[in-house]
Every structure is written in C-alpha cells, then in structure tokens.
C-alpha cells in the first residue's frame, strides 16, 4: 500500500460520501468568480485547516502535485493570450502581455490551486470499499450496482499485470515487429478479452456466494457522524470567508462579466 492509497489522518473518520458533497458545496461558489482575493483566502484557509487536522504539507503535495504543473500552465496561457487591457508590456503576433492579462494569469493560476488542492486532498485515495459502503448505505444507491462496481475496481489491479504479461507474450511470439499503433490496438483487444473473461468468472463467483437483488446486511456499518458535519461546516465557513471577503472588498469578479 502506498501513501496515496491510504486515507489521510483527519479524514479517516469522515464518511467517504461526505467529501464528494463538500467538493460540490465548495467548488460551485468558487467557480463563479475569478479574483485573487477569494482564491488566496480559500487556499490559505485550507492549508491551516489541513495542518490542524494532521494532514501535513508532504501529504498535501503528494496528492496535489499534478496541479502544481497545471496551475502555472493555465496561468501562462492567460498571460500570453488573454484579452488585452490596461498598459501593454509586450507584444508578438497573437501574444499580448498587458496589465489585465497579468492579473488574470495570477487569478487563474491561484484559483486552479484553490479549487483543486482541497478536492484532491479530500478525494484521492478514498478507500473503494468504504466508499462503496457509503454509496450504498448512506447515499442509498442500488447495492447490486455499487458492489459490482467495487469488484470491478479490484479487477483493475489484476488487469495491470495482465497487460504486462500480454506485452511480453506477444514479443515471445514474434508479433511485436508491426507498427506501434497496430501493436497497441492488438494488445488492447487481447486485454479486453481477458478482462471480459475475468469479469464473467467474477460474476459467477459472486453469484455462488448468494449475490443478488435480495435484501442484504452490511458487515461494515457506514453512517454519518459528527466528523461529517464538521467537514461540511468547515467547507461552508471557508467558502463564506473567501467569497464574503471578495464581495466586501469589491474584488469579486463574476465569470459572466468576463474580463475587467
């Protein structure tokens, strides 16, 4: 088990369904505005929240590193291609760097982090079994669907090894000399066949253990506790603080109003 697949301390008492609800509660208002103030406040607030919940900077970085690449990329594209406004600093064909594009670049880069980091920290590495328990018992999704999906998730790990074996087996049979695209397609088809067969046997094994539509019990209880209320409350406070401050200081900039 790598650190990525473990639920971070501080989140392990939360029902896995709650982070999903919190993610929606948080990201919808945060997507309505593009301003520096609300993004900076929210990001700062989350870092304090994580630290006090025992989620250290290492855990945060390990889960959200793709964003550290995505945020600068989106900022740079804003910087170079956003609609110009204010003083113009540099110009080259379609590229215009202006006051407005600098501000937008900062706002967008920060916002990607402010929205992405807490969501990734909360959702990456949720234990699939606990999530399935929560989806079936708390969110009341049909258990047949949820458990079949859960069993499918476990198959994914097995299929990774299948893929490696298929690649080796094709080389062993002298079939690897064709073009890379064709080779990948053929191997993918072989994997699909293996996956379907594994799925079929898995269904038989599940059925043989009485799996079906009938009423069932749950060995692992999944319920909402105070920790879930706390997570939702904290999320609401962060949103209110961030968006509220932006409104109060006049920096709130709704997306529908476009640029400055």
């Amino acid at each position: 088990m790598t650190a990525l697949t473990r639920t971070p301390r501080g989140l392990d008492r939360v029902n896995p369904v709650t982070p999903f609800v919190a993610a929606v509660l948080y990201s919808v208002p945060m997507l309505l505005t593009i301003d520096l103030v609300s993004a900076a406040i929210a990001l700062g607030a989350w870092i304090i929240v994580f630290a006090s919940a025992g989620i250290g900077p290492r855990t945060v970085l390990r889960r959200s590193w793709p964003l550290l690449l995505a945020a600068p990329l989106s900022a740079v594209s804003m910087l170079l291609y956003a609609e110009p406004g204010g003083r113009i600093h540099a110009q080259l064909w379609l590229i215009v760097i202006s006051d407005q594009s600098i501000e937008l670049a900062l706002a967008i880069g920060l916002r990607v982090l402010a929205i992405g980091v807490p969501i990734l920290v909360g959702l990456v590495g949720l234990d699939p079994t606990r999530l399935a328990d929560g989806l079936a018992q708390v969110a009341r999704l049909p258990h047949r669907f949820v458990l079949a999906a859960l069993a499918g998730v476990r198959l994914f790990g097995v299929l990774g090894e299948d893929w490696r074996q298929i690649a080796l087996a094709r080389r062993a049979r002298g079939l690897g000399d064709t073009g890379a695209v064709r080779r990948a397609l053929q191997a993918a088809f072989a994997l699909l066949v293996v996956a379907l067969r594994r799925g079929g046997t898995l269904a038989t094994a599940m059925e043989a253990r009485g799996f079906g539509d009938a009423e069932r019990t749950w060995a692992r209880p999944s319920r909402l506790t105070r920790a879930d209320a706390v997570l939702l409350l904290v999320t609401a406070v962060v949103v209110a603080l961030a968006v509220g401050t932006a409104l109060a200081t006049g920096s709130f900039r709704p997306v529908w109003q476009g640029a400055l």
Binding site: V158, A172, V194, G210, F211, R216, T217, P221
Partner: protein
C-alpha cells in the same frame, strides 16, 4: 448444521450452441454428509454438474436442462446459500480487497445480522487455518492461501453442500496439502455434504468416502467406495486421465547427448522494477538437455524464466546467447535486445496463463500466427499447423475459439503455438498445470522428444515431481540455498 441431499433423475444439460450435451441421463443420490470425489474423463461434464449444483449454471438462454436435479428437494437455482462453490483459479475466487470483507461477502448477501457476520468470519478463518489479519490485502495472498480464503468465504455461509472444482490444480505441493487439510477439517466439523472434482486422486483419498465416475457419453460409469471403484476400474480410469494411485506415469527418454551451450547465464539475478527476486544464477542451457527449475512459491522462478527467455532485462548479471543459437544472422549476444521475430525463432516461451498468449479467433490461426509473422510459405504453414494439431490432439478443436477451450486444452495450444516456429530453446512455465494423466503424458512425451530427438533445449519451471523425475536432466532449486553451479543437481544417469 446437517448436510444436504442431492438427487439427480435422468438429469442432463446442453450448453447453448453446442452439438452434444455436457451431461446426459445422470442418476445420482448423495446422502447428507457424504464426501464424494467426482471423476471422469475430460469433457464428461464434471464442472457442469458442480455449477448446476451451485445454482450458477444460468437460465434457459444459457442452455437446455433435461430431467430433474434437486438439492434438499428444491431446484438448486432457487436456493441461496445452500451450496458453496470454490473454483480452480485462485484469482477467480477472490471478490473483495481485504481478507475479512471477502469472507463476510456471502454472509452479507444472506442478510446475516452484522454481529453474527464477524463471529462467523473469525470462526471460518480459524477453520481453514488462515491466520492473517482481517484487513490484510487479498492481493498479497499466495495461491494456497487464496483457495483457503475462498473456502472460508463458503463455510461462513454455513452451506449444507460444499462444491470444489479442482481446488488444488494450480497450487504448489505445500499449497495442495494446506487446502486439502482445511477441507478435511471443515467437512468433519460442519457435517456438510462434500463434492470434489479433482484429477489427483491420491490427495483426496483421506478425505472422501465415495467415488463417482462420470462417463463421457453421460451418466455414471462407476460408483462406490474409493477402494472398490479404484480396484475395479483403476486401469480404465488411468486411461481416461485420472491420476490413480499406484499407477505411476512413465515416459521413456532417449539416450542423452547434451550438446553445445545455447544460452549462458552469468550471475543473473532477475526481478521487476529493479527489485531482485532470487539469488544469483550461473549456468549454461545446453542443446539436447532439459533443465528443471523448482522451488517454493515466490522464489522467483517465473521471473527467472522470463529473463532467461529474453523478455525481461536481468537486474544483475547477463544472459548471453552463444554463436550456435545466434546463427545465422544475429550478432547481438543478449536476447533481450533481439527483435521479436529473431527471438521467436530461437527462444519460445509458454506462459503460466495461456490466455495471455492468444492472438487469433481460431485454434488453427493461433498456431499459424507466429509462422505468418515470419512470412513462411502458405503450404508449409498449413502442413506444420496440421502436424501440431495432431501431435497435441487439438484437431477436433481446430476451428474453436482459443478462449473457449478448457484450461488443459489452452495449455496444449500455447505449447503448440510456441513449437510452430521451431525454436531451439523452449522455456515452459508450469507446462502441466491442470493436465489430466493422459494429456500430461502426451505433453511430457512431446517435450521429451524435442530434447532427445530434435536436440532442443528445454527449461521447465515446475512444481510437479513427476515432471522433474522425467525431464530433470538437471535441476535448479531456487529459494533459500545458493544456486550457483553447486546448486545444480544432475539427474541420475539414464540407462
């Protein structure tokens, strides 16, 4: 808990789209608590009968049922939790990611109250002597542990009928004994009726009190106590592929003439992702000689095989092909650097899971695929394919889809596909897994003739002591002791 009663009256089943029924006209009574070993030639419908008893054979669209089959007086598909089934492939029996959850799964489906589930789970794991934490990942279990886990999952449901479909065919000898002993304990403790399908009779004789032999044409060919059935029908059963105790298999070997070295391993340690999995191995793979590699599960046998076969790079040391193997046109001495076509012509590999190797929709095309890639003339391909179909007794299946074959047939097909380009070195990973006595003999005879008559070199990874006895010109034992030259035990001189 008492055992279930099985009753079959003229029962039969024909899979949809097949010409002949899998089982026909079966009459059978099994009393509660009886422990039955179900035998019969390949294709007699043993697995079909087990699936039917487990109630997982499917509905009308999957096939046609005739006659009557009941468990405790009811049709098996209408019962839930009365019969528990353990399948041959350990991987196929695991449903959940953690040991405790996997055992609990069946109980949950039977709506057992939560507190009782966990006491049942602990008791079931104790009964199969699987002493691991409840939150242990199921992916980390060995094959034998997985099969005992599956058994625990079944007995936690408190079934009256336990059905085992070749539960030990894919296990090493230690795993076989683990599972067999767990079954014996569980049967004694629960009093459940037990039906086991297994070619390896000797393993199960201490557990069963009755042997039923299904006939290939339908119905039961013999039925009675193990001693009386094996005594009266031993020779016939052996001819049908059953491993009858006291009738050892013999495959004659030619005179040994170990020739030139084809591959040289120089202090090779292999592994995945830079992590070595076995001690350094230095040896020569020689023409006209078979090398058997044995050792416990996890000793790194399969990884060494892939490295030796030019499929995985060695983590330390080097695998080199000698001039005779490289002839006529390859200069690069390291097989891992060869192009696939250069490799397939020189070193053939049979994988542990045959289905990973299949690339075609028909058995015939499957065997031809390697030859087509090598651009051989059409009529030569056809000739070669026909020869291999006959040699491995696959003629009747020439137009079947490789994925629909039985496990034993798939293994023979994968051997045929590798033989087609006539490589001088053959690497076989567990070539006899799941083979009955008859196909085992054919397969081992074929491998032996490659070595003795064609001067090929064979490297066989195996747990099977009979394979080691017949094919082990030299034996490399991995795991534990140093496997330098000293670890290579030469075979007793052949006459």
């Amino acid at each position: 808990m008492t055992g279930s009663r099985i009753r079959a009256r003229g029962w039969g089943w024909q899979h949809a789209g097949r010409d002949a029924p899998a089982v026909a006209g079966l009459d059978l009574e099994v009393e509660p608590g009886e422990r039955v070993l179900l035998l019969g030639p390949s294709g007699a419908g043993k697995s079909t009968l087990l699936a039917a008893l487990a109630g997982v054979l499917g509905g009308d669209d999957e096939g046609d049922e005739t006659g009557e089959l009941t468990v405790d007086g009811a049709h098996p598909s209408s019962l839930r939790g009365t019969a528990g089934l353990v399948l041959q492939d350990p991987q196929a029996n695991t449903i959940m990611s953690r040991v405790g959850d996997d055992v609990a799964f069946g109980c949950e489906n039977l709506a057992v109250p939560r507190d009782e589930i966990w006491s049942r789970v602990r008791h079931a794991l104790e009964a199969v002597a699987l002493d691991v934490a409840l939150d242990r990942s199921t992916a980390a279990l060995s094959g034998g542990q997985r099969q005992r886990l599956a058994l625990a999952g079944v007995i936690a449901m408190r079934p009256g009928l336990i059905l085992l479909d070749e539960p030990t065919a894919n296990l090493d000898p230690a795993g076989v004994v683990e599972v067999r002993d767990a079954v014996a304990r569980v049967a004694a403790e629960t009093g459940a009726t037990l039906v086991v399908v297994e070619h390896r009779v000797e393993t199960w004789l201490p557990v069963v009190d009755r042997v039923v032999v299904l006939a290939a044409g339908g119905g039961a060919a013999a039925d009675g106590s193990p001693a009386s059935v094996l005594g009266a029908h031993g020779e016939q059963l052996a001819a049908d592929g059953v491993w009858v105790p006291g009738l050892p298999v013999e495959v004659a070997r030619g005179t040994r003439h170990a020739g030139e070295a084809l591959l040289e391993l120089d202090a090779v340690r292999s592994g995945r992702a830079g992590e070595v999995v076995h001690e350094a191995v230095s040896l020569e793979v020689r023409a006209g000689e078979a090398l058997v590699v044995t050792g416990p599960n996890g000793a790194g046998k399969s990884t060494l095989a892939l490295t030796l076969a030019g499929l995985l790079p060695a983590v330390e040391g080097e695998v080199r092909a000698t001039e005779p193997l490289r002839a006529p046109d390859v200069r690069e001495p390291r097989p891992i650097r060869w192009r696939p076509k250069q490799l397939a012509r020189r070193i053939g590999t049979v994988f542990q899971q045959p289905e990973h190797q299949f690339v075609a929709a028909r058995v015939r095309d499957e065997i031809a695929a390697g030859l087509v890639a090598l651009q051989q003339p059409k009529h030569e391909i056809a000739q070669r394919v026909d020869g291999l179909l006959a040699a491995l007794r696959l003629e009747a299946l020439a137009d079947a889809n490789p994925f629909t074959l039985s496990g034993g047939e798939q293994r023979r097909l994968s051997v045929a596909t590798v033989l087609a380009p006539a490589p001088r070195v053959m690497v076989l990973d567990e070539p006899t897994f799941g083979q009955d006595r008859r196909t085992w003999t054919e397969l081992v005879r074929l491998i032996a003739s490659l070595v003795d008559d064609r001067g090929c070199s064979v490297v066989a990874i195996t747990h099977d002591p009979d394979v080691e006895r017949v094919l082990g010109d030299r034996t490399l034992r991995l795991g534990g002791t140093a496997a330098e030259h000293g670890g290579l035990a030469p075979r007793a001189e052949r006459a």
